[in-house]
Every structure is written in C-alpha cells, then in structure tokens.
Subunit: 422 residues, 2 copies
C-alpha cells in the first residue's frame, strides 16, 4: 500500500473488496502467538515504526477522574453553556429546590429571587434565592450545596422538579470556577433554633465541600437580637419578614456570584419566573433585577397541590440489567414474593402468570435464579398483560390552578385551560 501515498490518480474501490476471513477464534493454520519466530515484541505486528510507550508506561498515567472535574470540563451537559444560560440555570435549580422543599413540607411557597450586578464589567452577577421552606439541617447543608450527585430525589419514583442531586451544587461550582467566590447559604429550620450560615466551595479534585467560614464549621446565628447583630456584622442577607410584615421563620437562602449575562425578554430569568408562577399558582415569587425594577408575582391560589405519591417501578419499565440487579439485592424471597413486592401493579395472579410464562416455579428462591432464568423472566414480563402504573405519583397542575396562574400573570380578556388524564 506504500504506493498509495504517491500523488497519482487512482480509480476504483480498492478498499472495498471483501477480505479473507481473519483467524477468529484461534485456529491452527495461523501462527499462534508465542510460536511465531522472528522479531521481538517491540517491533511485532505489521511494520511497527517506533515504540513510544509500553503498556506499563501507559498504565502509570491512569487515574480516577472526579465527577466535579468531569462536569467542570463538561459544564454544557448541565446547562452552563453560556453566561446567559448559566444564570438562568442557576436560578432555575434554586427555585426548583425551593418549590420542592415547600411542597414536601406542606408550606405555601414564598420565594425571593434577586440578581445584582457586581463591578462595572457587566459580566459578573450575584444571584440569590430565598424561600420560606422547611430549611435544611446543619450537617446536610455543605453536602447539598458543595458536592455533585448528592440528594434525596434521585432514587425516588415520584414527581419532583429537581431530580438528580446535581443542579444547585453545579451552579455553585460554576460560580466558584468563574469568580473564585464561595457559595453562601443561610438556612433556618424554625424560629427557636439558630440559623446556620455557610460559605463554601466545592473542591473539584475530590467532589467534597470545603467550608471557608467559622474555621471550617460554618457559623451559627442565634435567634433574637444577638443573631440580628451577627448578621449585620457579617453582611449576611436574609429576608426576615415579607412585604406584608409576616415573619419568615424558616427557609433557605443561597447566594452565588458568577460570570453571567443578564437580559430581559425571551430566555430570561424573568420569563422563567413568570412561567413558574403560571404553573405554580400556589407560589408567591418576588423578583429583583439588577436594573432595580422589583416585581411580585402574586399567589393566585391558597391551595397546595395534592402531594404526589412515591411508587414502585412498573415491570414494563425495568431493563433486563436492572432486573438482574434487583434479583441479586433480594436473594431470599420466593419469585412470587419478589414480583408482588418489588413492582407496582403485580397481583399474586399476575405474578403466577409471569412465572408460568417463564416456565419458573413461583416458589423458587430469587437467589437461585441464574442469568438464563432472569432472561426468561424478563421476556415473560413483556408478554404478560399488566395494568398501567398508578398515576398518583404525578400531579398535573389541573385546569383550575392553571387558569388561576394564567390570570395572575398574563394580561388578557379570555382565559381557558385544558388538561388530560395522566
């Protein structure tokens, strides 16, 4: 093939002719390894040119990559593609968490979103989001805000806005990377306990939070006048009462300084908050932008939406690999018990049908099932009629609430809303 590198014209598809079968698996008419005479290993194979690195040398460079390093380099995967999008994503992640926390605690959400310009360049902003939610207990605060892939919502089969345990900590990491400034968090669980104040940043090498204030322990802010003094002294921001004079006795406030671009209109923070207000008419949202125009998106309904229920996985939605893992995790059940207890919508009758189709005894112990049996079980599940999953794990907004939200946010003369069963 050496002639092919000469700049002569050439026709046809030389590379497209079928080649003789390579020796696969090892067969006797090819020289097996270890028996071929001739060249040493360093020059073996088709015309090796120079040996630059051995397998041993390559192995020396292999090492773990922390998930934070990965996402610092691949931040676009998490919505931090551009300064504009980074700001929007950060606000969204914080507001999602606030709405979820209020919902779980049965609190009508009130949320303050504030965006301030830092310096004169127009490329740096400080975003803060506070809620009146249940607050976060002290030892969880650093992990929730300073560690990627930590949270309560990932393993749950239940509707929530946030899901992955990566959003708000990624926003904090983006802030630290672009400005070097720590993430600031205040959280308060009730009016009697002290609030906690943390300044922290994610250590991207280890994906662990590094707490910078209070000698690495954070700072407690006692309730009452002493605490107010402390907050004033440290310039800790906290909305202690809303514009109606109602005290805010619990909640969380997160502040992130970041390289960002602030704009109004399409794809802006304000537009996102309007849409959030429409789909969450039970929330009251305050927005203060860097140009001083403050807005309140008023609560349109005092009813909390029904609480979504956590459900078990539906058999149709479980991949074979996951099924194998589930069987291994519960090795001491009978197959019938396993099916009825691990999945939603599997009655003992359905379990029996699945076992029959798979030609397996319903009384066999799960731990004794091999790969072949798991395969048969998986196929049998696909072939068995199983009712669709319960829908109370999701809660649609509903026509009434959607209408209320629309009326509150969008000016218009006629409003209508439609919803379909989930």
């Amino acid at each position: 093939m050496a002639t092919a590198t000469k700049p002569t014209k050439k026709r046809g598809r030389k590379g497209r002719t079928a080649a003789p079968e390579d020796t696969l698996p090892v067969v006797d008419d090819a020289p097996p390894p270890g028996e071929s005479a001739g060249e040493g290993s360093a020059t073996a194979g088709p015309k090796a040119v120079r040996r630059r690195a051995t397998a041993q040398a390559l192995a020396a460079g292999q090492r773990d990559i922390s998930v934070s390093e990965f996402f610092a380099k691949n931040r676009h995967l998490l919505g931090f593609d551009s300064p504009r999008k980074a700001l929007l994503t950060s606000v969204k992640e914080a507001v999602d968490n606030s709405l979820d926390a209020c919902e779980e605690a049965g609190i009508l959400p009130e949320i303050w979103v504030r965006i301030e310009q830092v310096g004169e360049s127009g490329t740096r902003y400080r975003m803060s989001v506070q809620d009146n939610g249940p607050g976060i207990v002290r030892k969880q605060i650093p992990l929730i805000f300073g560690k990627l892939l930590y949270g309560s919502k990932f393993h749950r089969l239940r509707m929530s806005r946030g899901q992955q345990g990566i959003g708000i900590s990624a926003a904090g990491m983006y802030g630290v990377l672009t400005t070097g400034k720590p993430v600031k968090i205040v959280s308060k669980i009730d009016r009697k306990h002290p609030a906690h104040y943390y300044e922290l940043r994610i250590d991207t090498k280890t994906n662990q939070p590094e707490i910078l204030n209070g000698k690495g322990e954070g700072v407690d802010i006692p309730p009452g006048k002493g605490g107010d003094e402390l907050m004033r002294k440290h310039s800790i921001e906290w909305v202690a009462a809303n514009d109606r004079g109602e005290p805010i006795e619990h909640g969380t406030r997160v502040t992130i300084e970041m390289e960002a671009k602030f704009q109004r209109g399409r794809g802006s923070v304000e537009e996102y908050l309007e849409q959030t207000a429409i789909s969450n008419p039970h929330a009251r949202i305050h927005f203060g932008g860097p140009d001083g125009q403050d807005r309140v998106l008023e609560r349109a309904s005092d009813d909390l939406p029904p609480e979504p229920k956590e459900i078990k996985p539906h058999p149709y939605g479980v991949e074979l690999g996951r099924l194998v893992t589930m069987l291994q995790e519960q090795p001491k059940l009978t197959l019938a018990q396993f099916l009825t207890q691990s999945f939603s919508r599997v009655s003992s009758g359905t379990a029996r049908k699945i076992c029959d189709t798979a030609k397996l005894s319903s009384r066999v112990t799960t731990g004794k099932l091999g790969r072949g049996e798991a395969d048969a079980l998986y196929k049998a599940i696909q072939e068995t009629r199983i009712p669709p999953p319960a829908t109370d794990c999701i809660v649609p907004i509903g026509e009434q609430r959607l209408l209320a939200g629309l009326r509150q946010v969008v000016p218009g003369e006629f409003f209508t809303a439609a919803t379909r069963p989930p």
Copy 2:
C-alpha cells in the same frame, strides 16, 4: 388573592405592580425572627396549610448518588440515546481507544470491528473491537472497562481521540443494563507474557468493576499451545494473526452485548469507520457486519502521524477559579516562578509585565496571595499581551495524509485536500 381562583374575568396586571422592598438585610422595622408573637413554627409563614415533612425528615432521605447511577439514568448525555446510536457510540469509543493506544505506543494500528446479531429479535447485537495496540496491564483492565471516570487522558493538555475516561466503560454499562451480559476483555502486552481475560460488569451502585470470571480475579492465558486450548475451551475470541499471516502479538479486544439497532448508510457504523479510515490513513480497519459482508479499509500510509506534545495551560484559557486553585496548589513559589512554570508562553519578561499590571511584587510568595490579589492577577493576565499557545499539542492530519486516506476510501477521479495552520 383567594378570589382569583373563582372563574371570573379579570383585567390588568395585578402581579406586575412594583412591590415595596422586602426587608433585606434584617432591618428593625420588620419583626425579627424569634421575636414575633403568635403562631408556632409549624404554621408560620404565609398561611401554611399542613406540615408534611420537617427538615429532619427530609434530611433522612439525602444520600450520595453514584456517578454510574447518574449516567445509567442520563445515558443520552454520553451518546446512548437510542439503540442505533448506542451501537455507533460503543464502536466509536472502542476504536478511539485503539487508535490512541497505538499512537502512544508508536504502532501502526490494525483494528477489527465485528458486529453480530444475537437471537432472532433483531434488537440485540454483540460488538467486538480488537486492536494490535500495546495492550493493557492486568490490574488496569477492570478499571478501564468497569468504572466510569477513570483514565489517563483527562488531565492532559494534548490531542487525543478519547478524552474523558467515560466512553468505553459507559458502553459496557449500557450493555450490562440492557442485556445483563458482562463485558469481555482480552488483553496481551507481548508474546512472552500471558494474556488476561476478564468478564466483568460495572456495579452501578458503587461505580466499581465486578469481575465475574476466575473467582473474581480474571483468567490468565499462557502463551503457546496451552493458551490456545484454554481459549478454545472458553470460546474466547482473539484474532491471532491477520489475513496476511502476520501474528498479532499484543493488543486488546473488547466484546459488549447490547440492545442495539444495526443499519447501513448514514449514521451507521460502516460510515463512521470509512470516515475514520480517511482521517487515519495509517490505520488498517477490518469490518464484519451481521449480514456477513466483510470489508478491509486498507492502510494508505505507513507513516505514523507525528506525536502530539503535552503542553501547559495558556494563561488566557485559565478561569479565575482555576487560577485560585493553582495558586493554592503551589504555595511556595515566587509569583514570577509560578507564572513561568505553570503556564506556557510566559517568559520572565511577560511574568514581570503581569506582576506590574497587577501591582504585585514578582517575588511575593504564592501562598500569601489572597482572593483580592488573585483577582488582580487574573485581570492583569487578560490585559497583558501573551503569544498564542504552541501548536505542537495538536497534529492536523495534513494534506498528504488526508489525500491518501480519501483515495483509499472514496471512489473518484480527482482528489484534493487543503489544510490550514492550527
């Protein structure tokens, strides 16, 4: 606002009127927390309805999420969106690794890609990719193929095809999740040492490899006839010699069974391999598809491309947050030493200019620089003229090689190629 839920028409933008400033930070004319009389914590804030979960209850559900669990759920982020794309991505990740390994070892690559249908459903395929590369030392094999975010190329500033240490292990995980079948790896570092054979799967809960064969240790295949016997007995596939009778004495073969869709034409594995052959004319690529049509994409050039050099980061490309971390990592240098040693293209003259602009002494110790100084240093770097980075960290294919590749793969009468300086 309760009336807003009634279905009456309403005009205007009630929510858009400016609201009075909320109390931020704590001011005296709002009731500070802990001093407001009245309701207990459980019903504090604006009309709480029912308290479902406390901060303590929410904390109980918080936990670590393994990076494998995250990517099992978010596999689209890594190119496993659909069965067709999953197959293509898996082949690409394996071939990328093969080309990179051969390049680092100075070996002219020969690569075998084989895709076989499994069963009759048309939804399951077994993909295997073998190369004549340097091989992988025994203890690294499970980590490279059975752990996400592990590798040698992530921390390096140097051109390579693979970068992230997540591709081939994610392909293996996808295979395990969709078929339950382990990933199979054979690797051989020279003709004298035994080859290693592993069957493994990623444990998604821990992101660690679980080795299934040889009692969790894998199996050694001795060189010579004994090894051939062993391979035949265990149906271990290995191309021991190419179609020209040249022995393949080192290399790696990975086999993954997965839910997939095989097709020809646009976006197919075959198209990808053709493009790979064009841009890597020094590679010889064998392709065997499930419909039996075998192809060899012949090597068009016996010259290895020049080896790219690893470089240090260029000052313009370092974010403020990264600069702060770099300063902390080397706290005992003078600022001038730090600048000239940590970055490319910073001469002592340039370092002095940066220090002058930042109003910092070039002899100050890096460990003594605070956040404000780091900020000043960052700004000074942006304002100082620094030559562009060296280009030997990337190696363009070049016109000659591109032409050779084109001629070999694409039928045509006239070929031309153009390249620009990097």
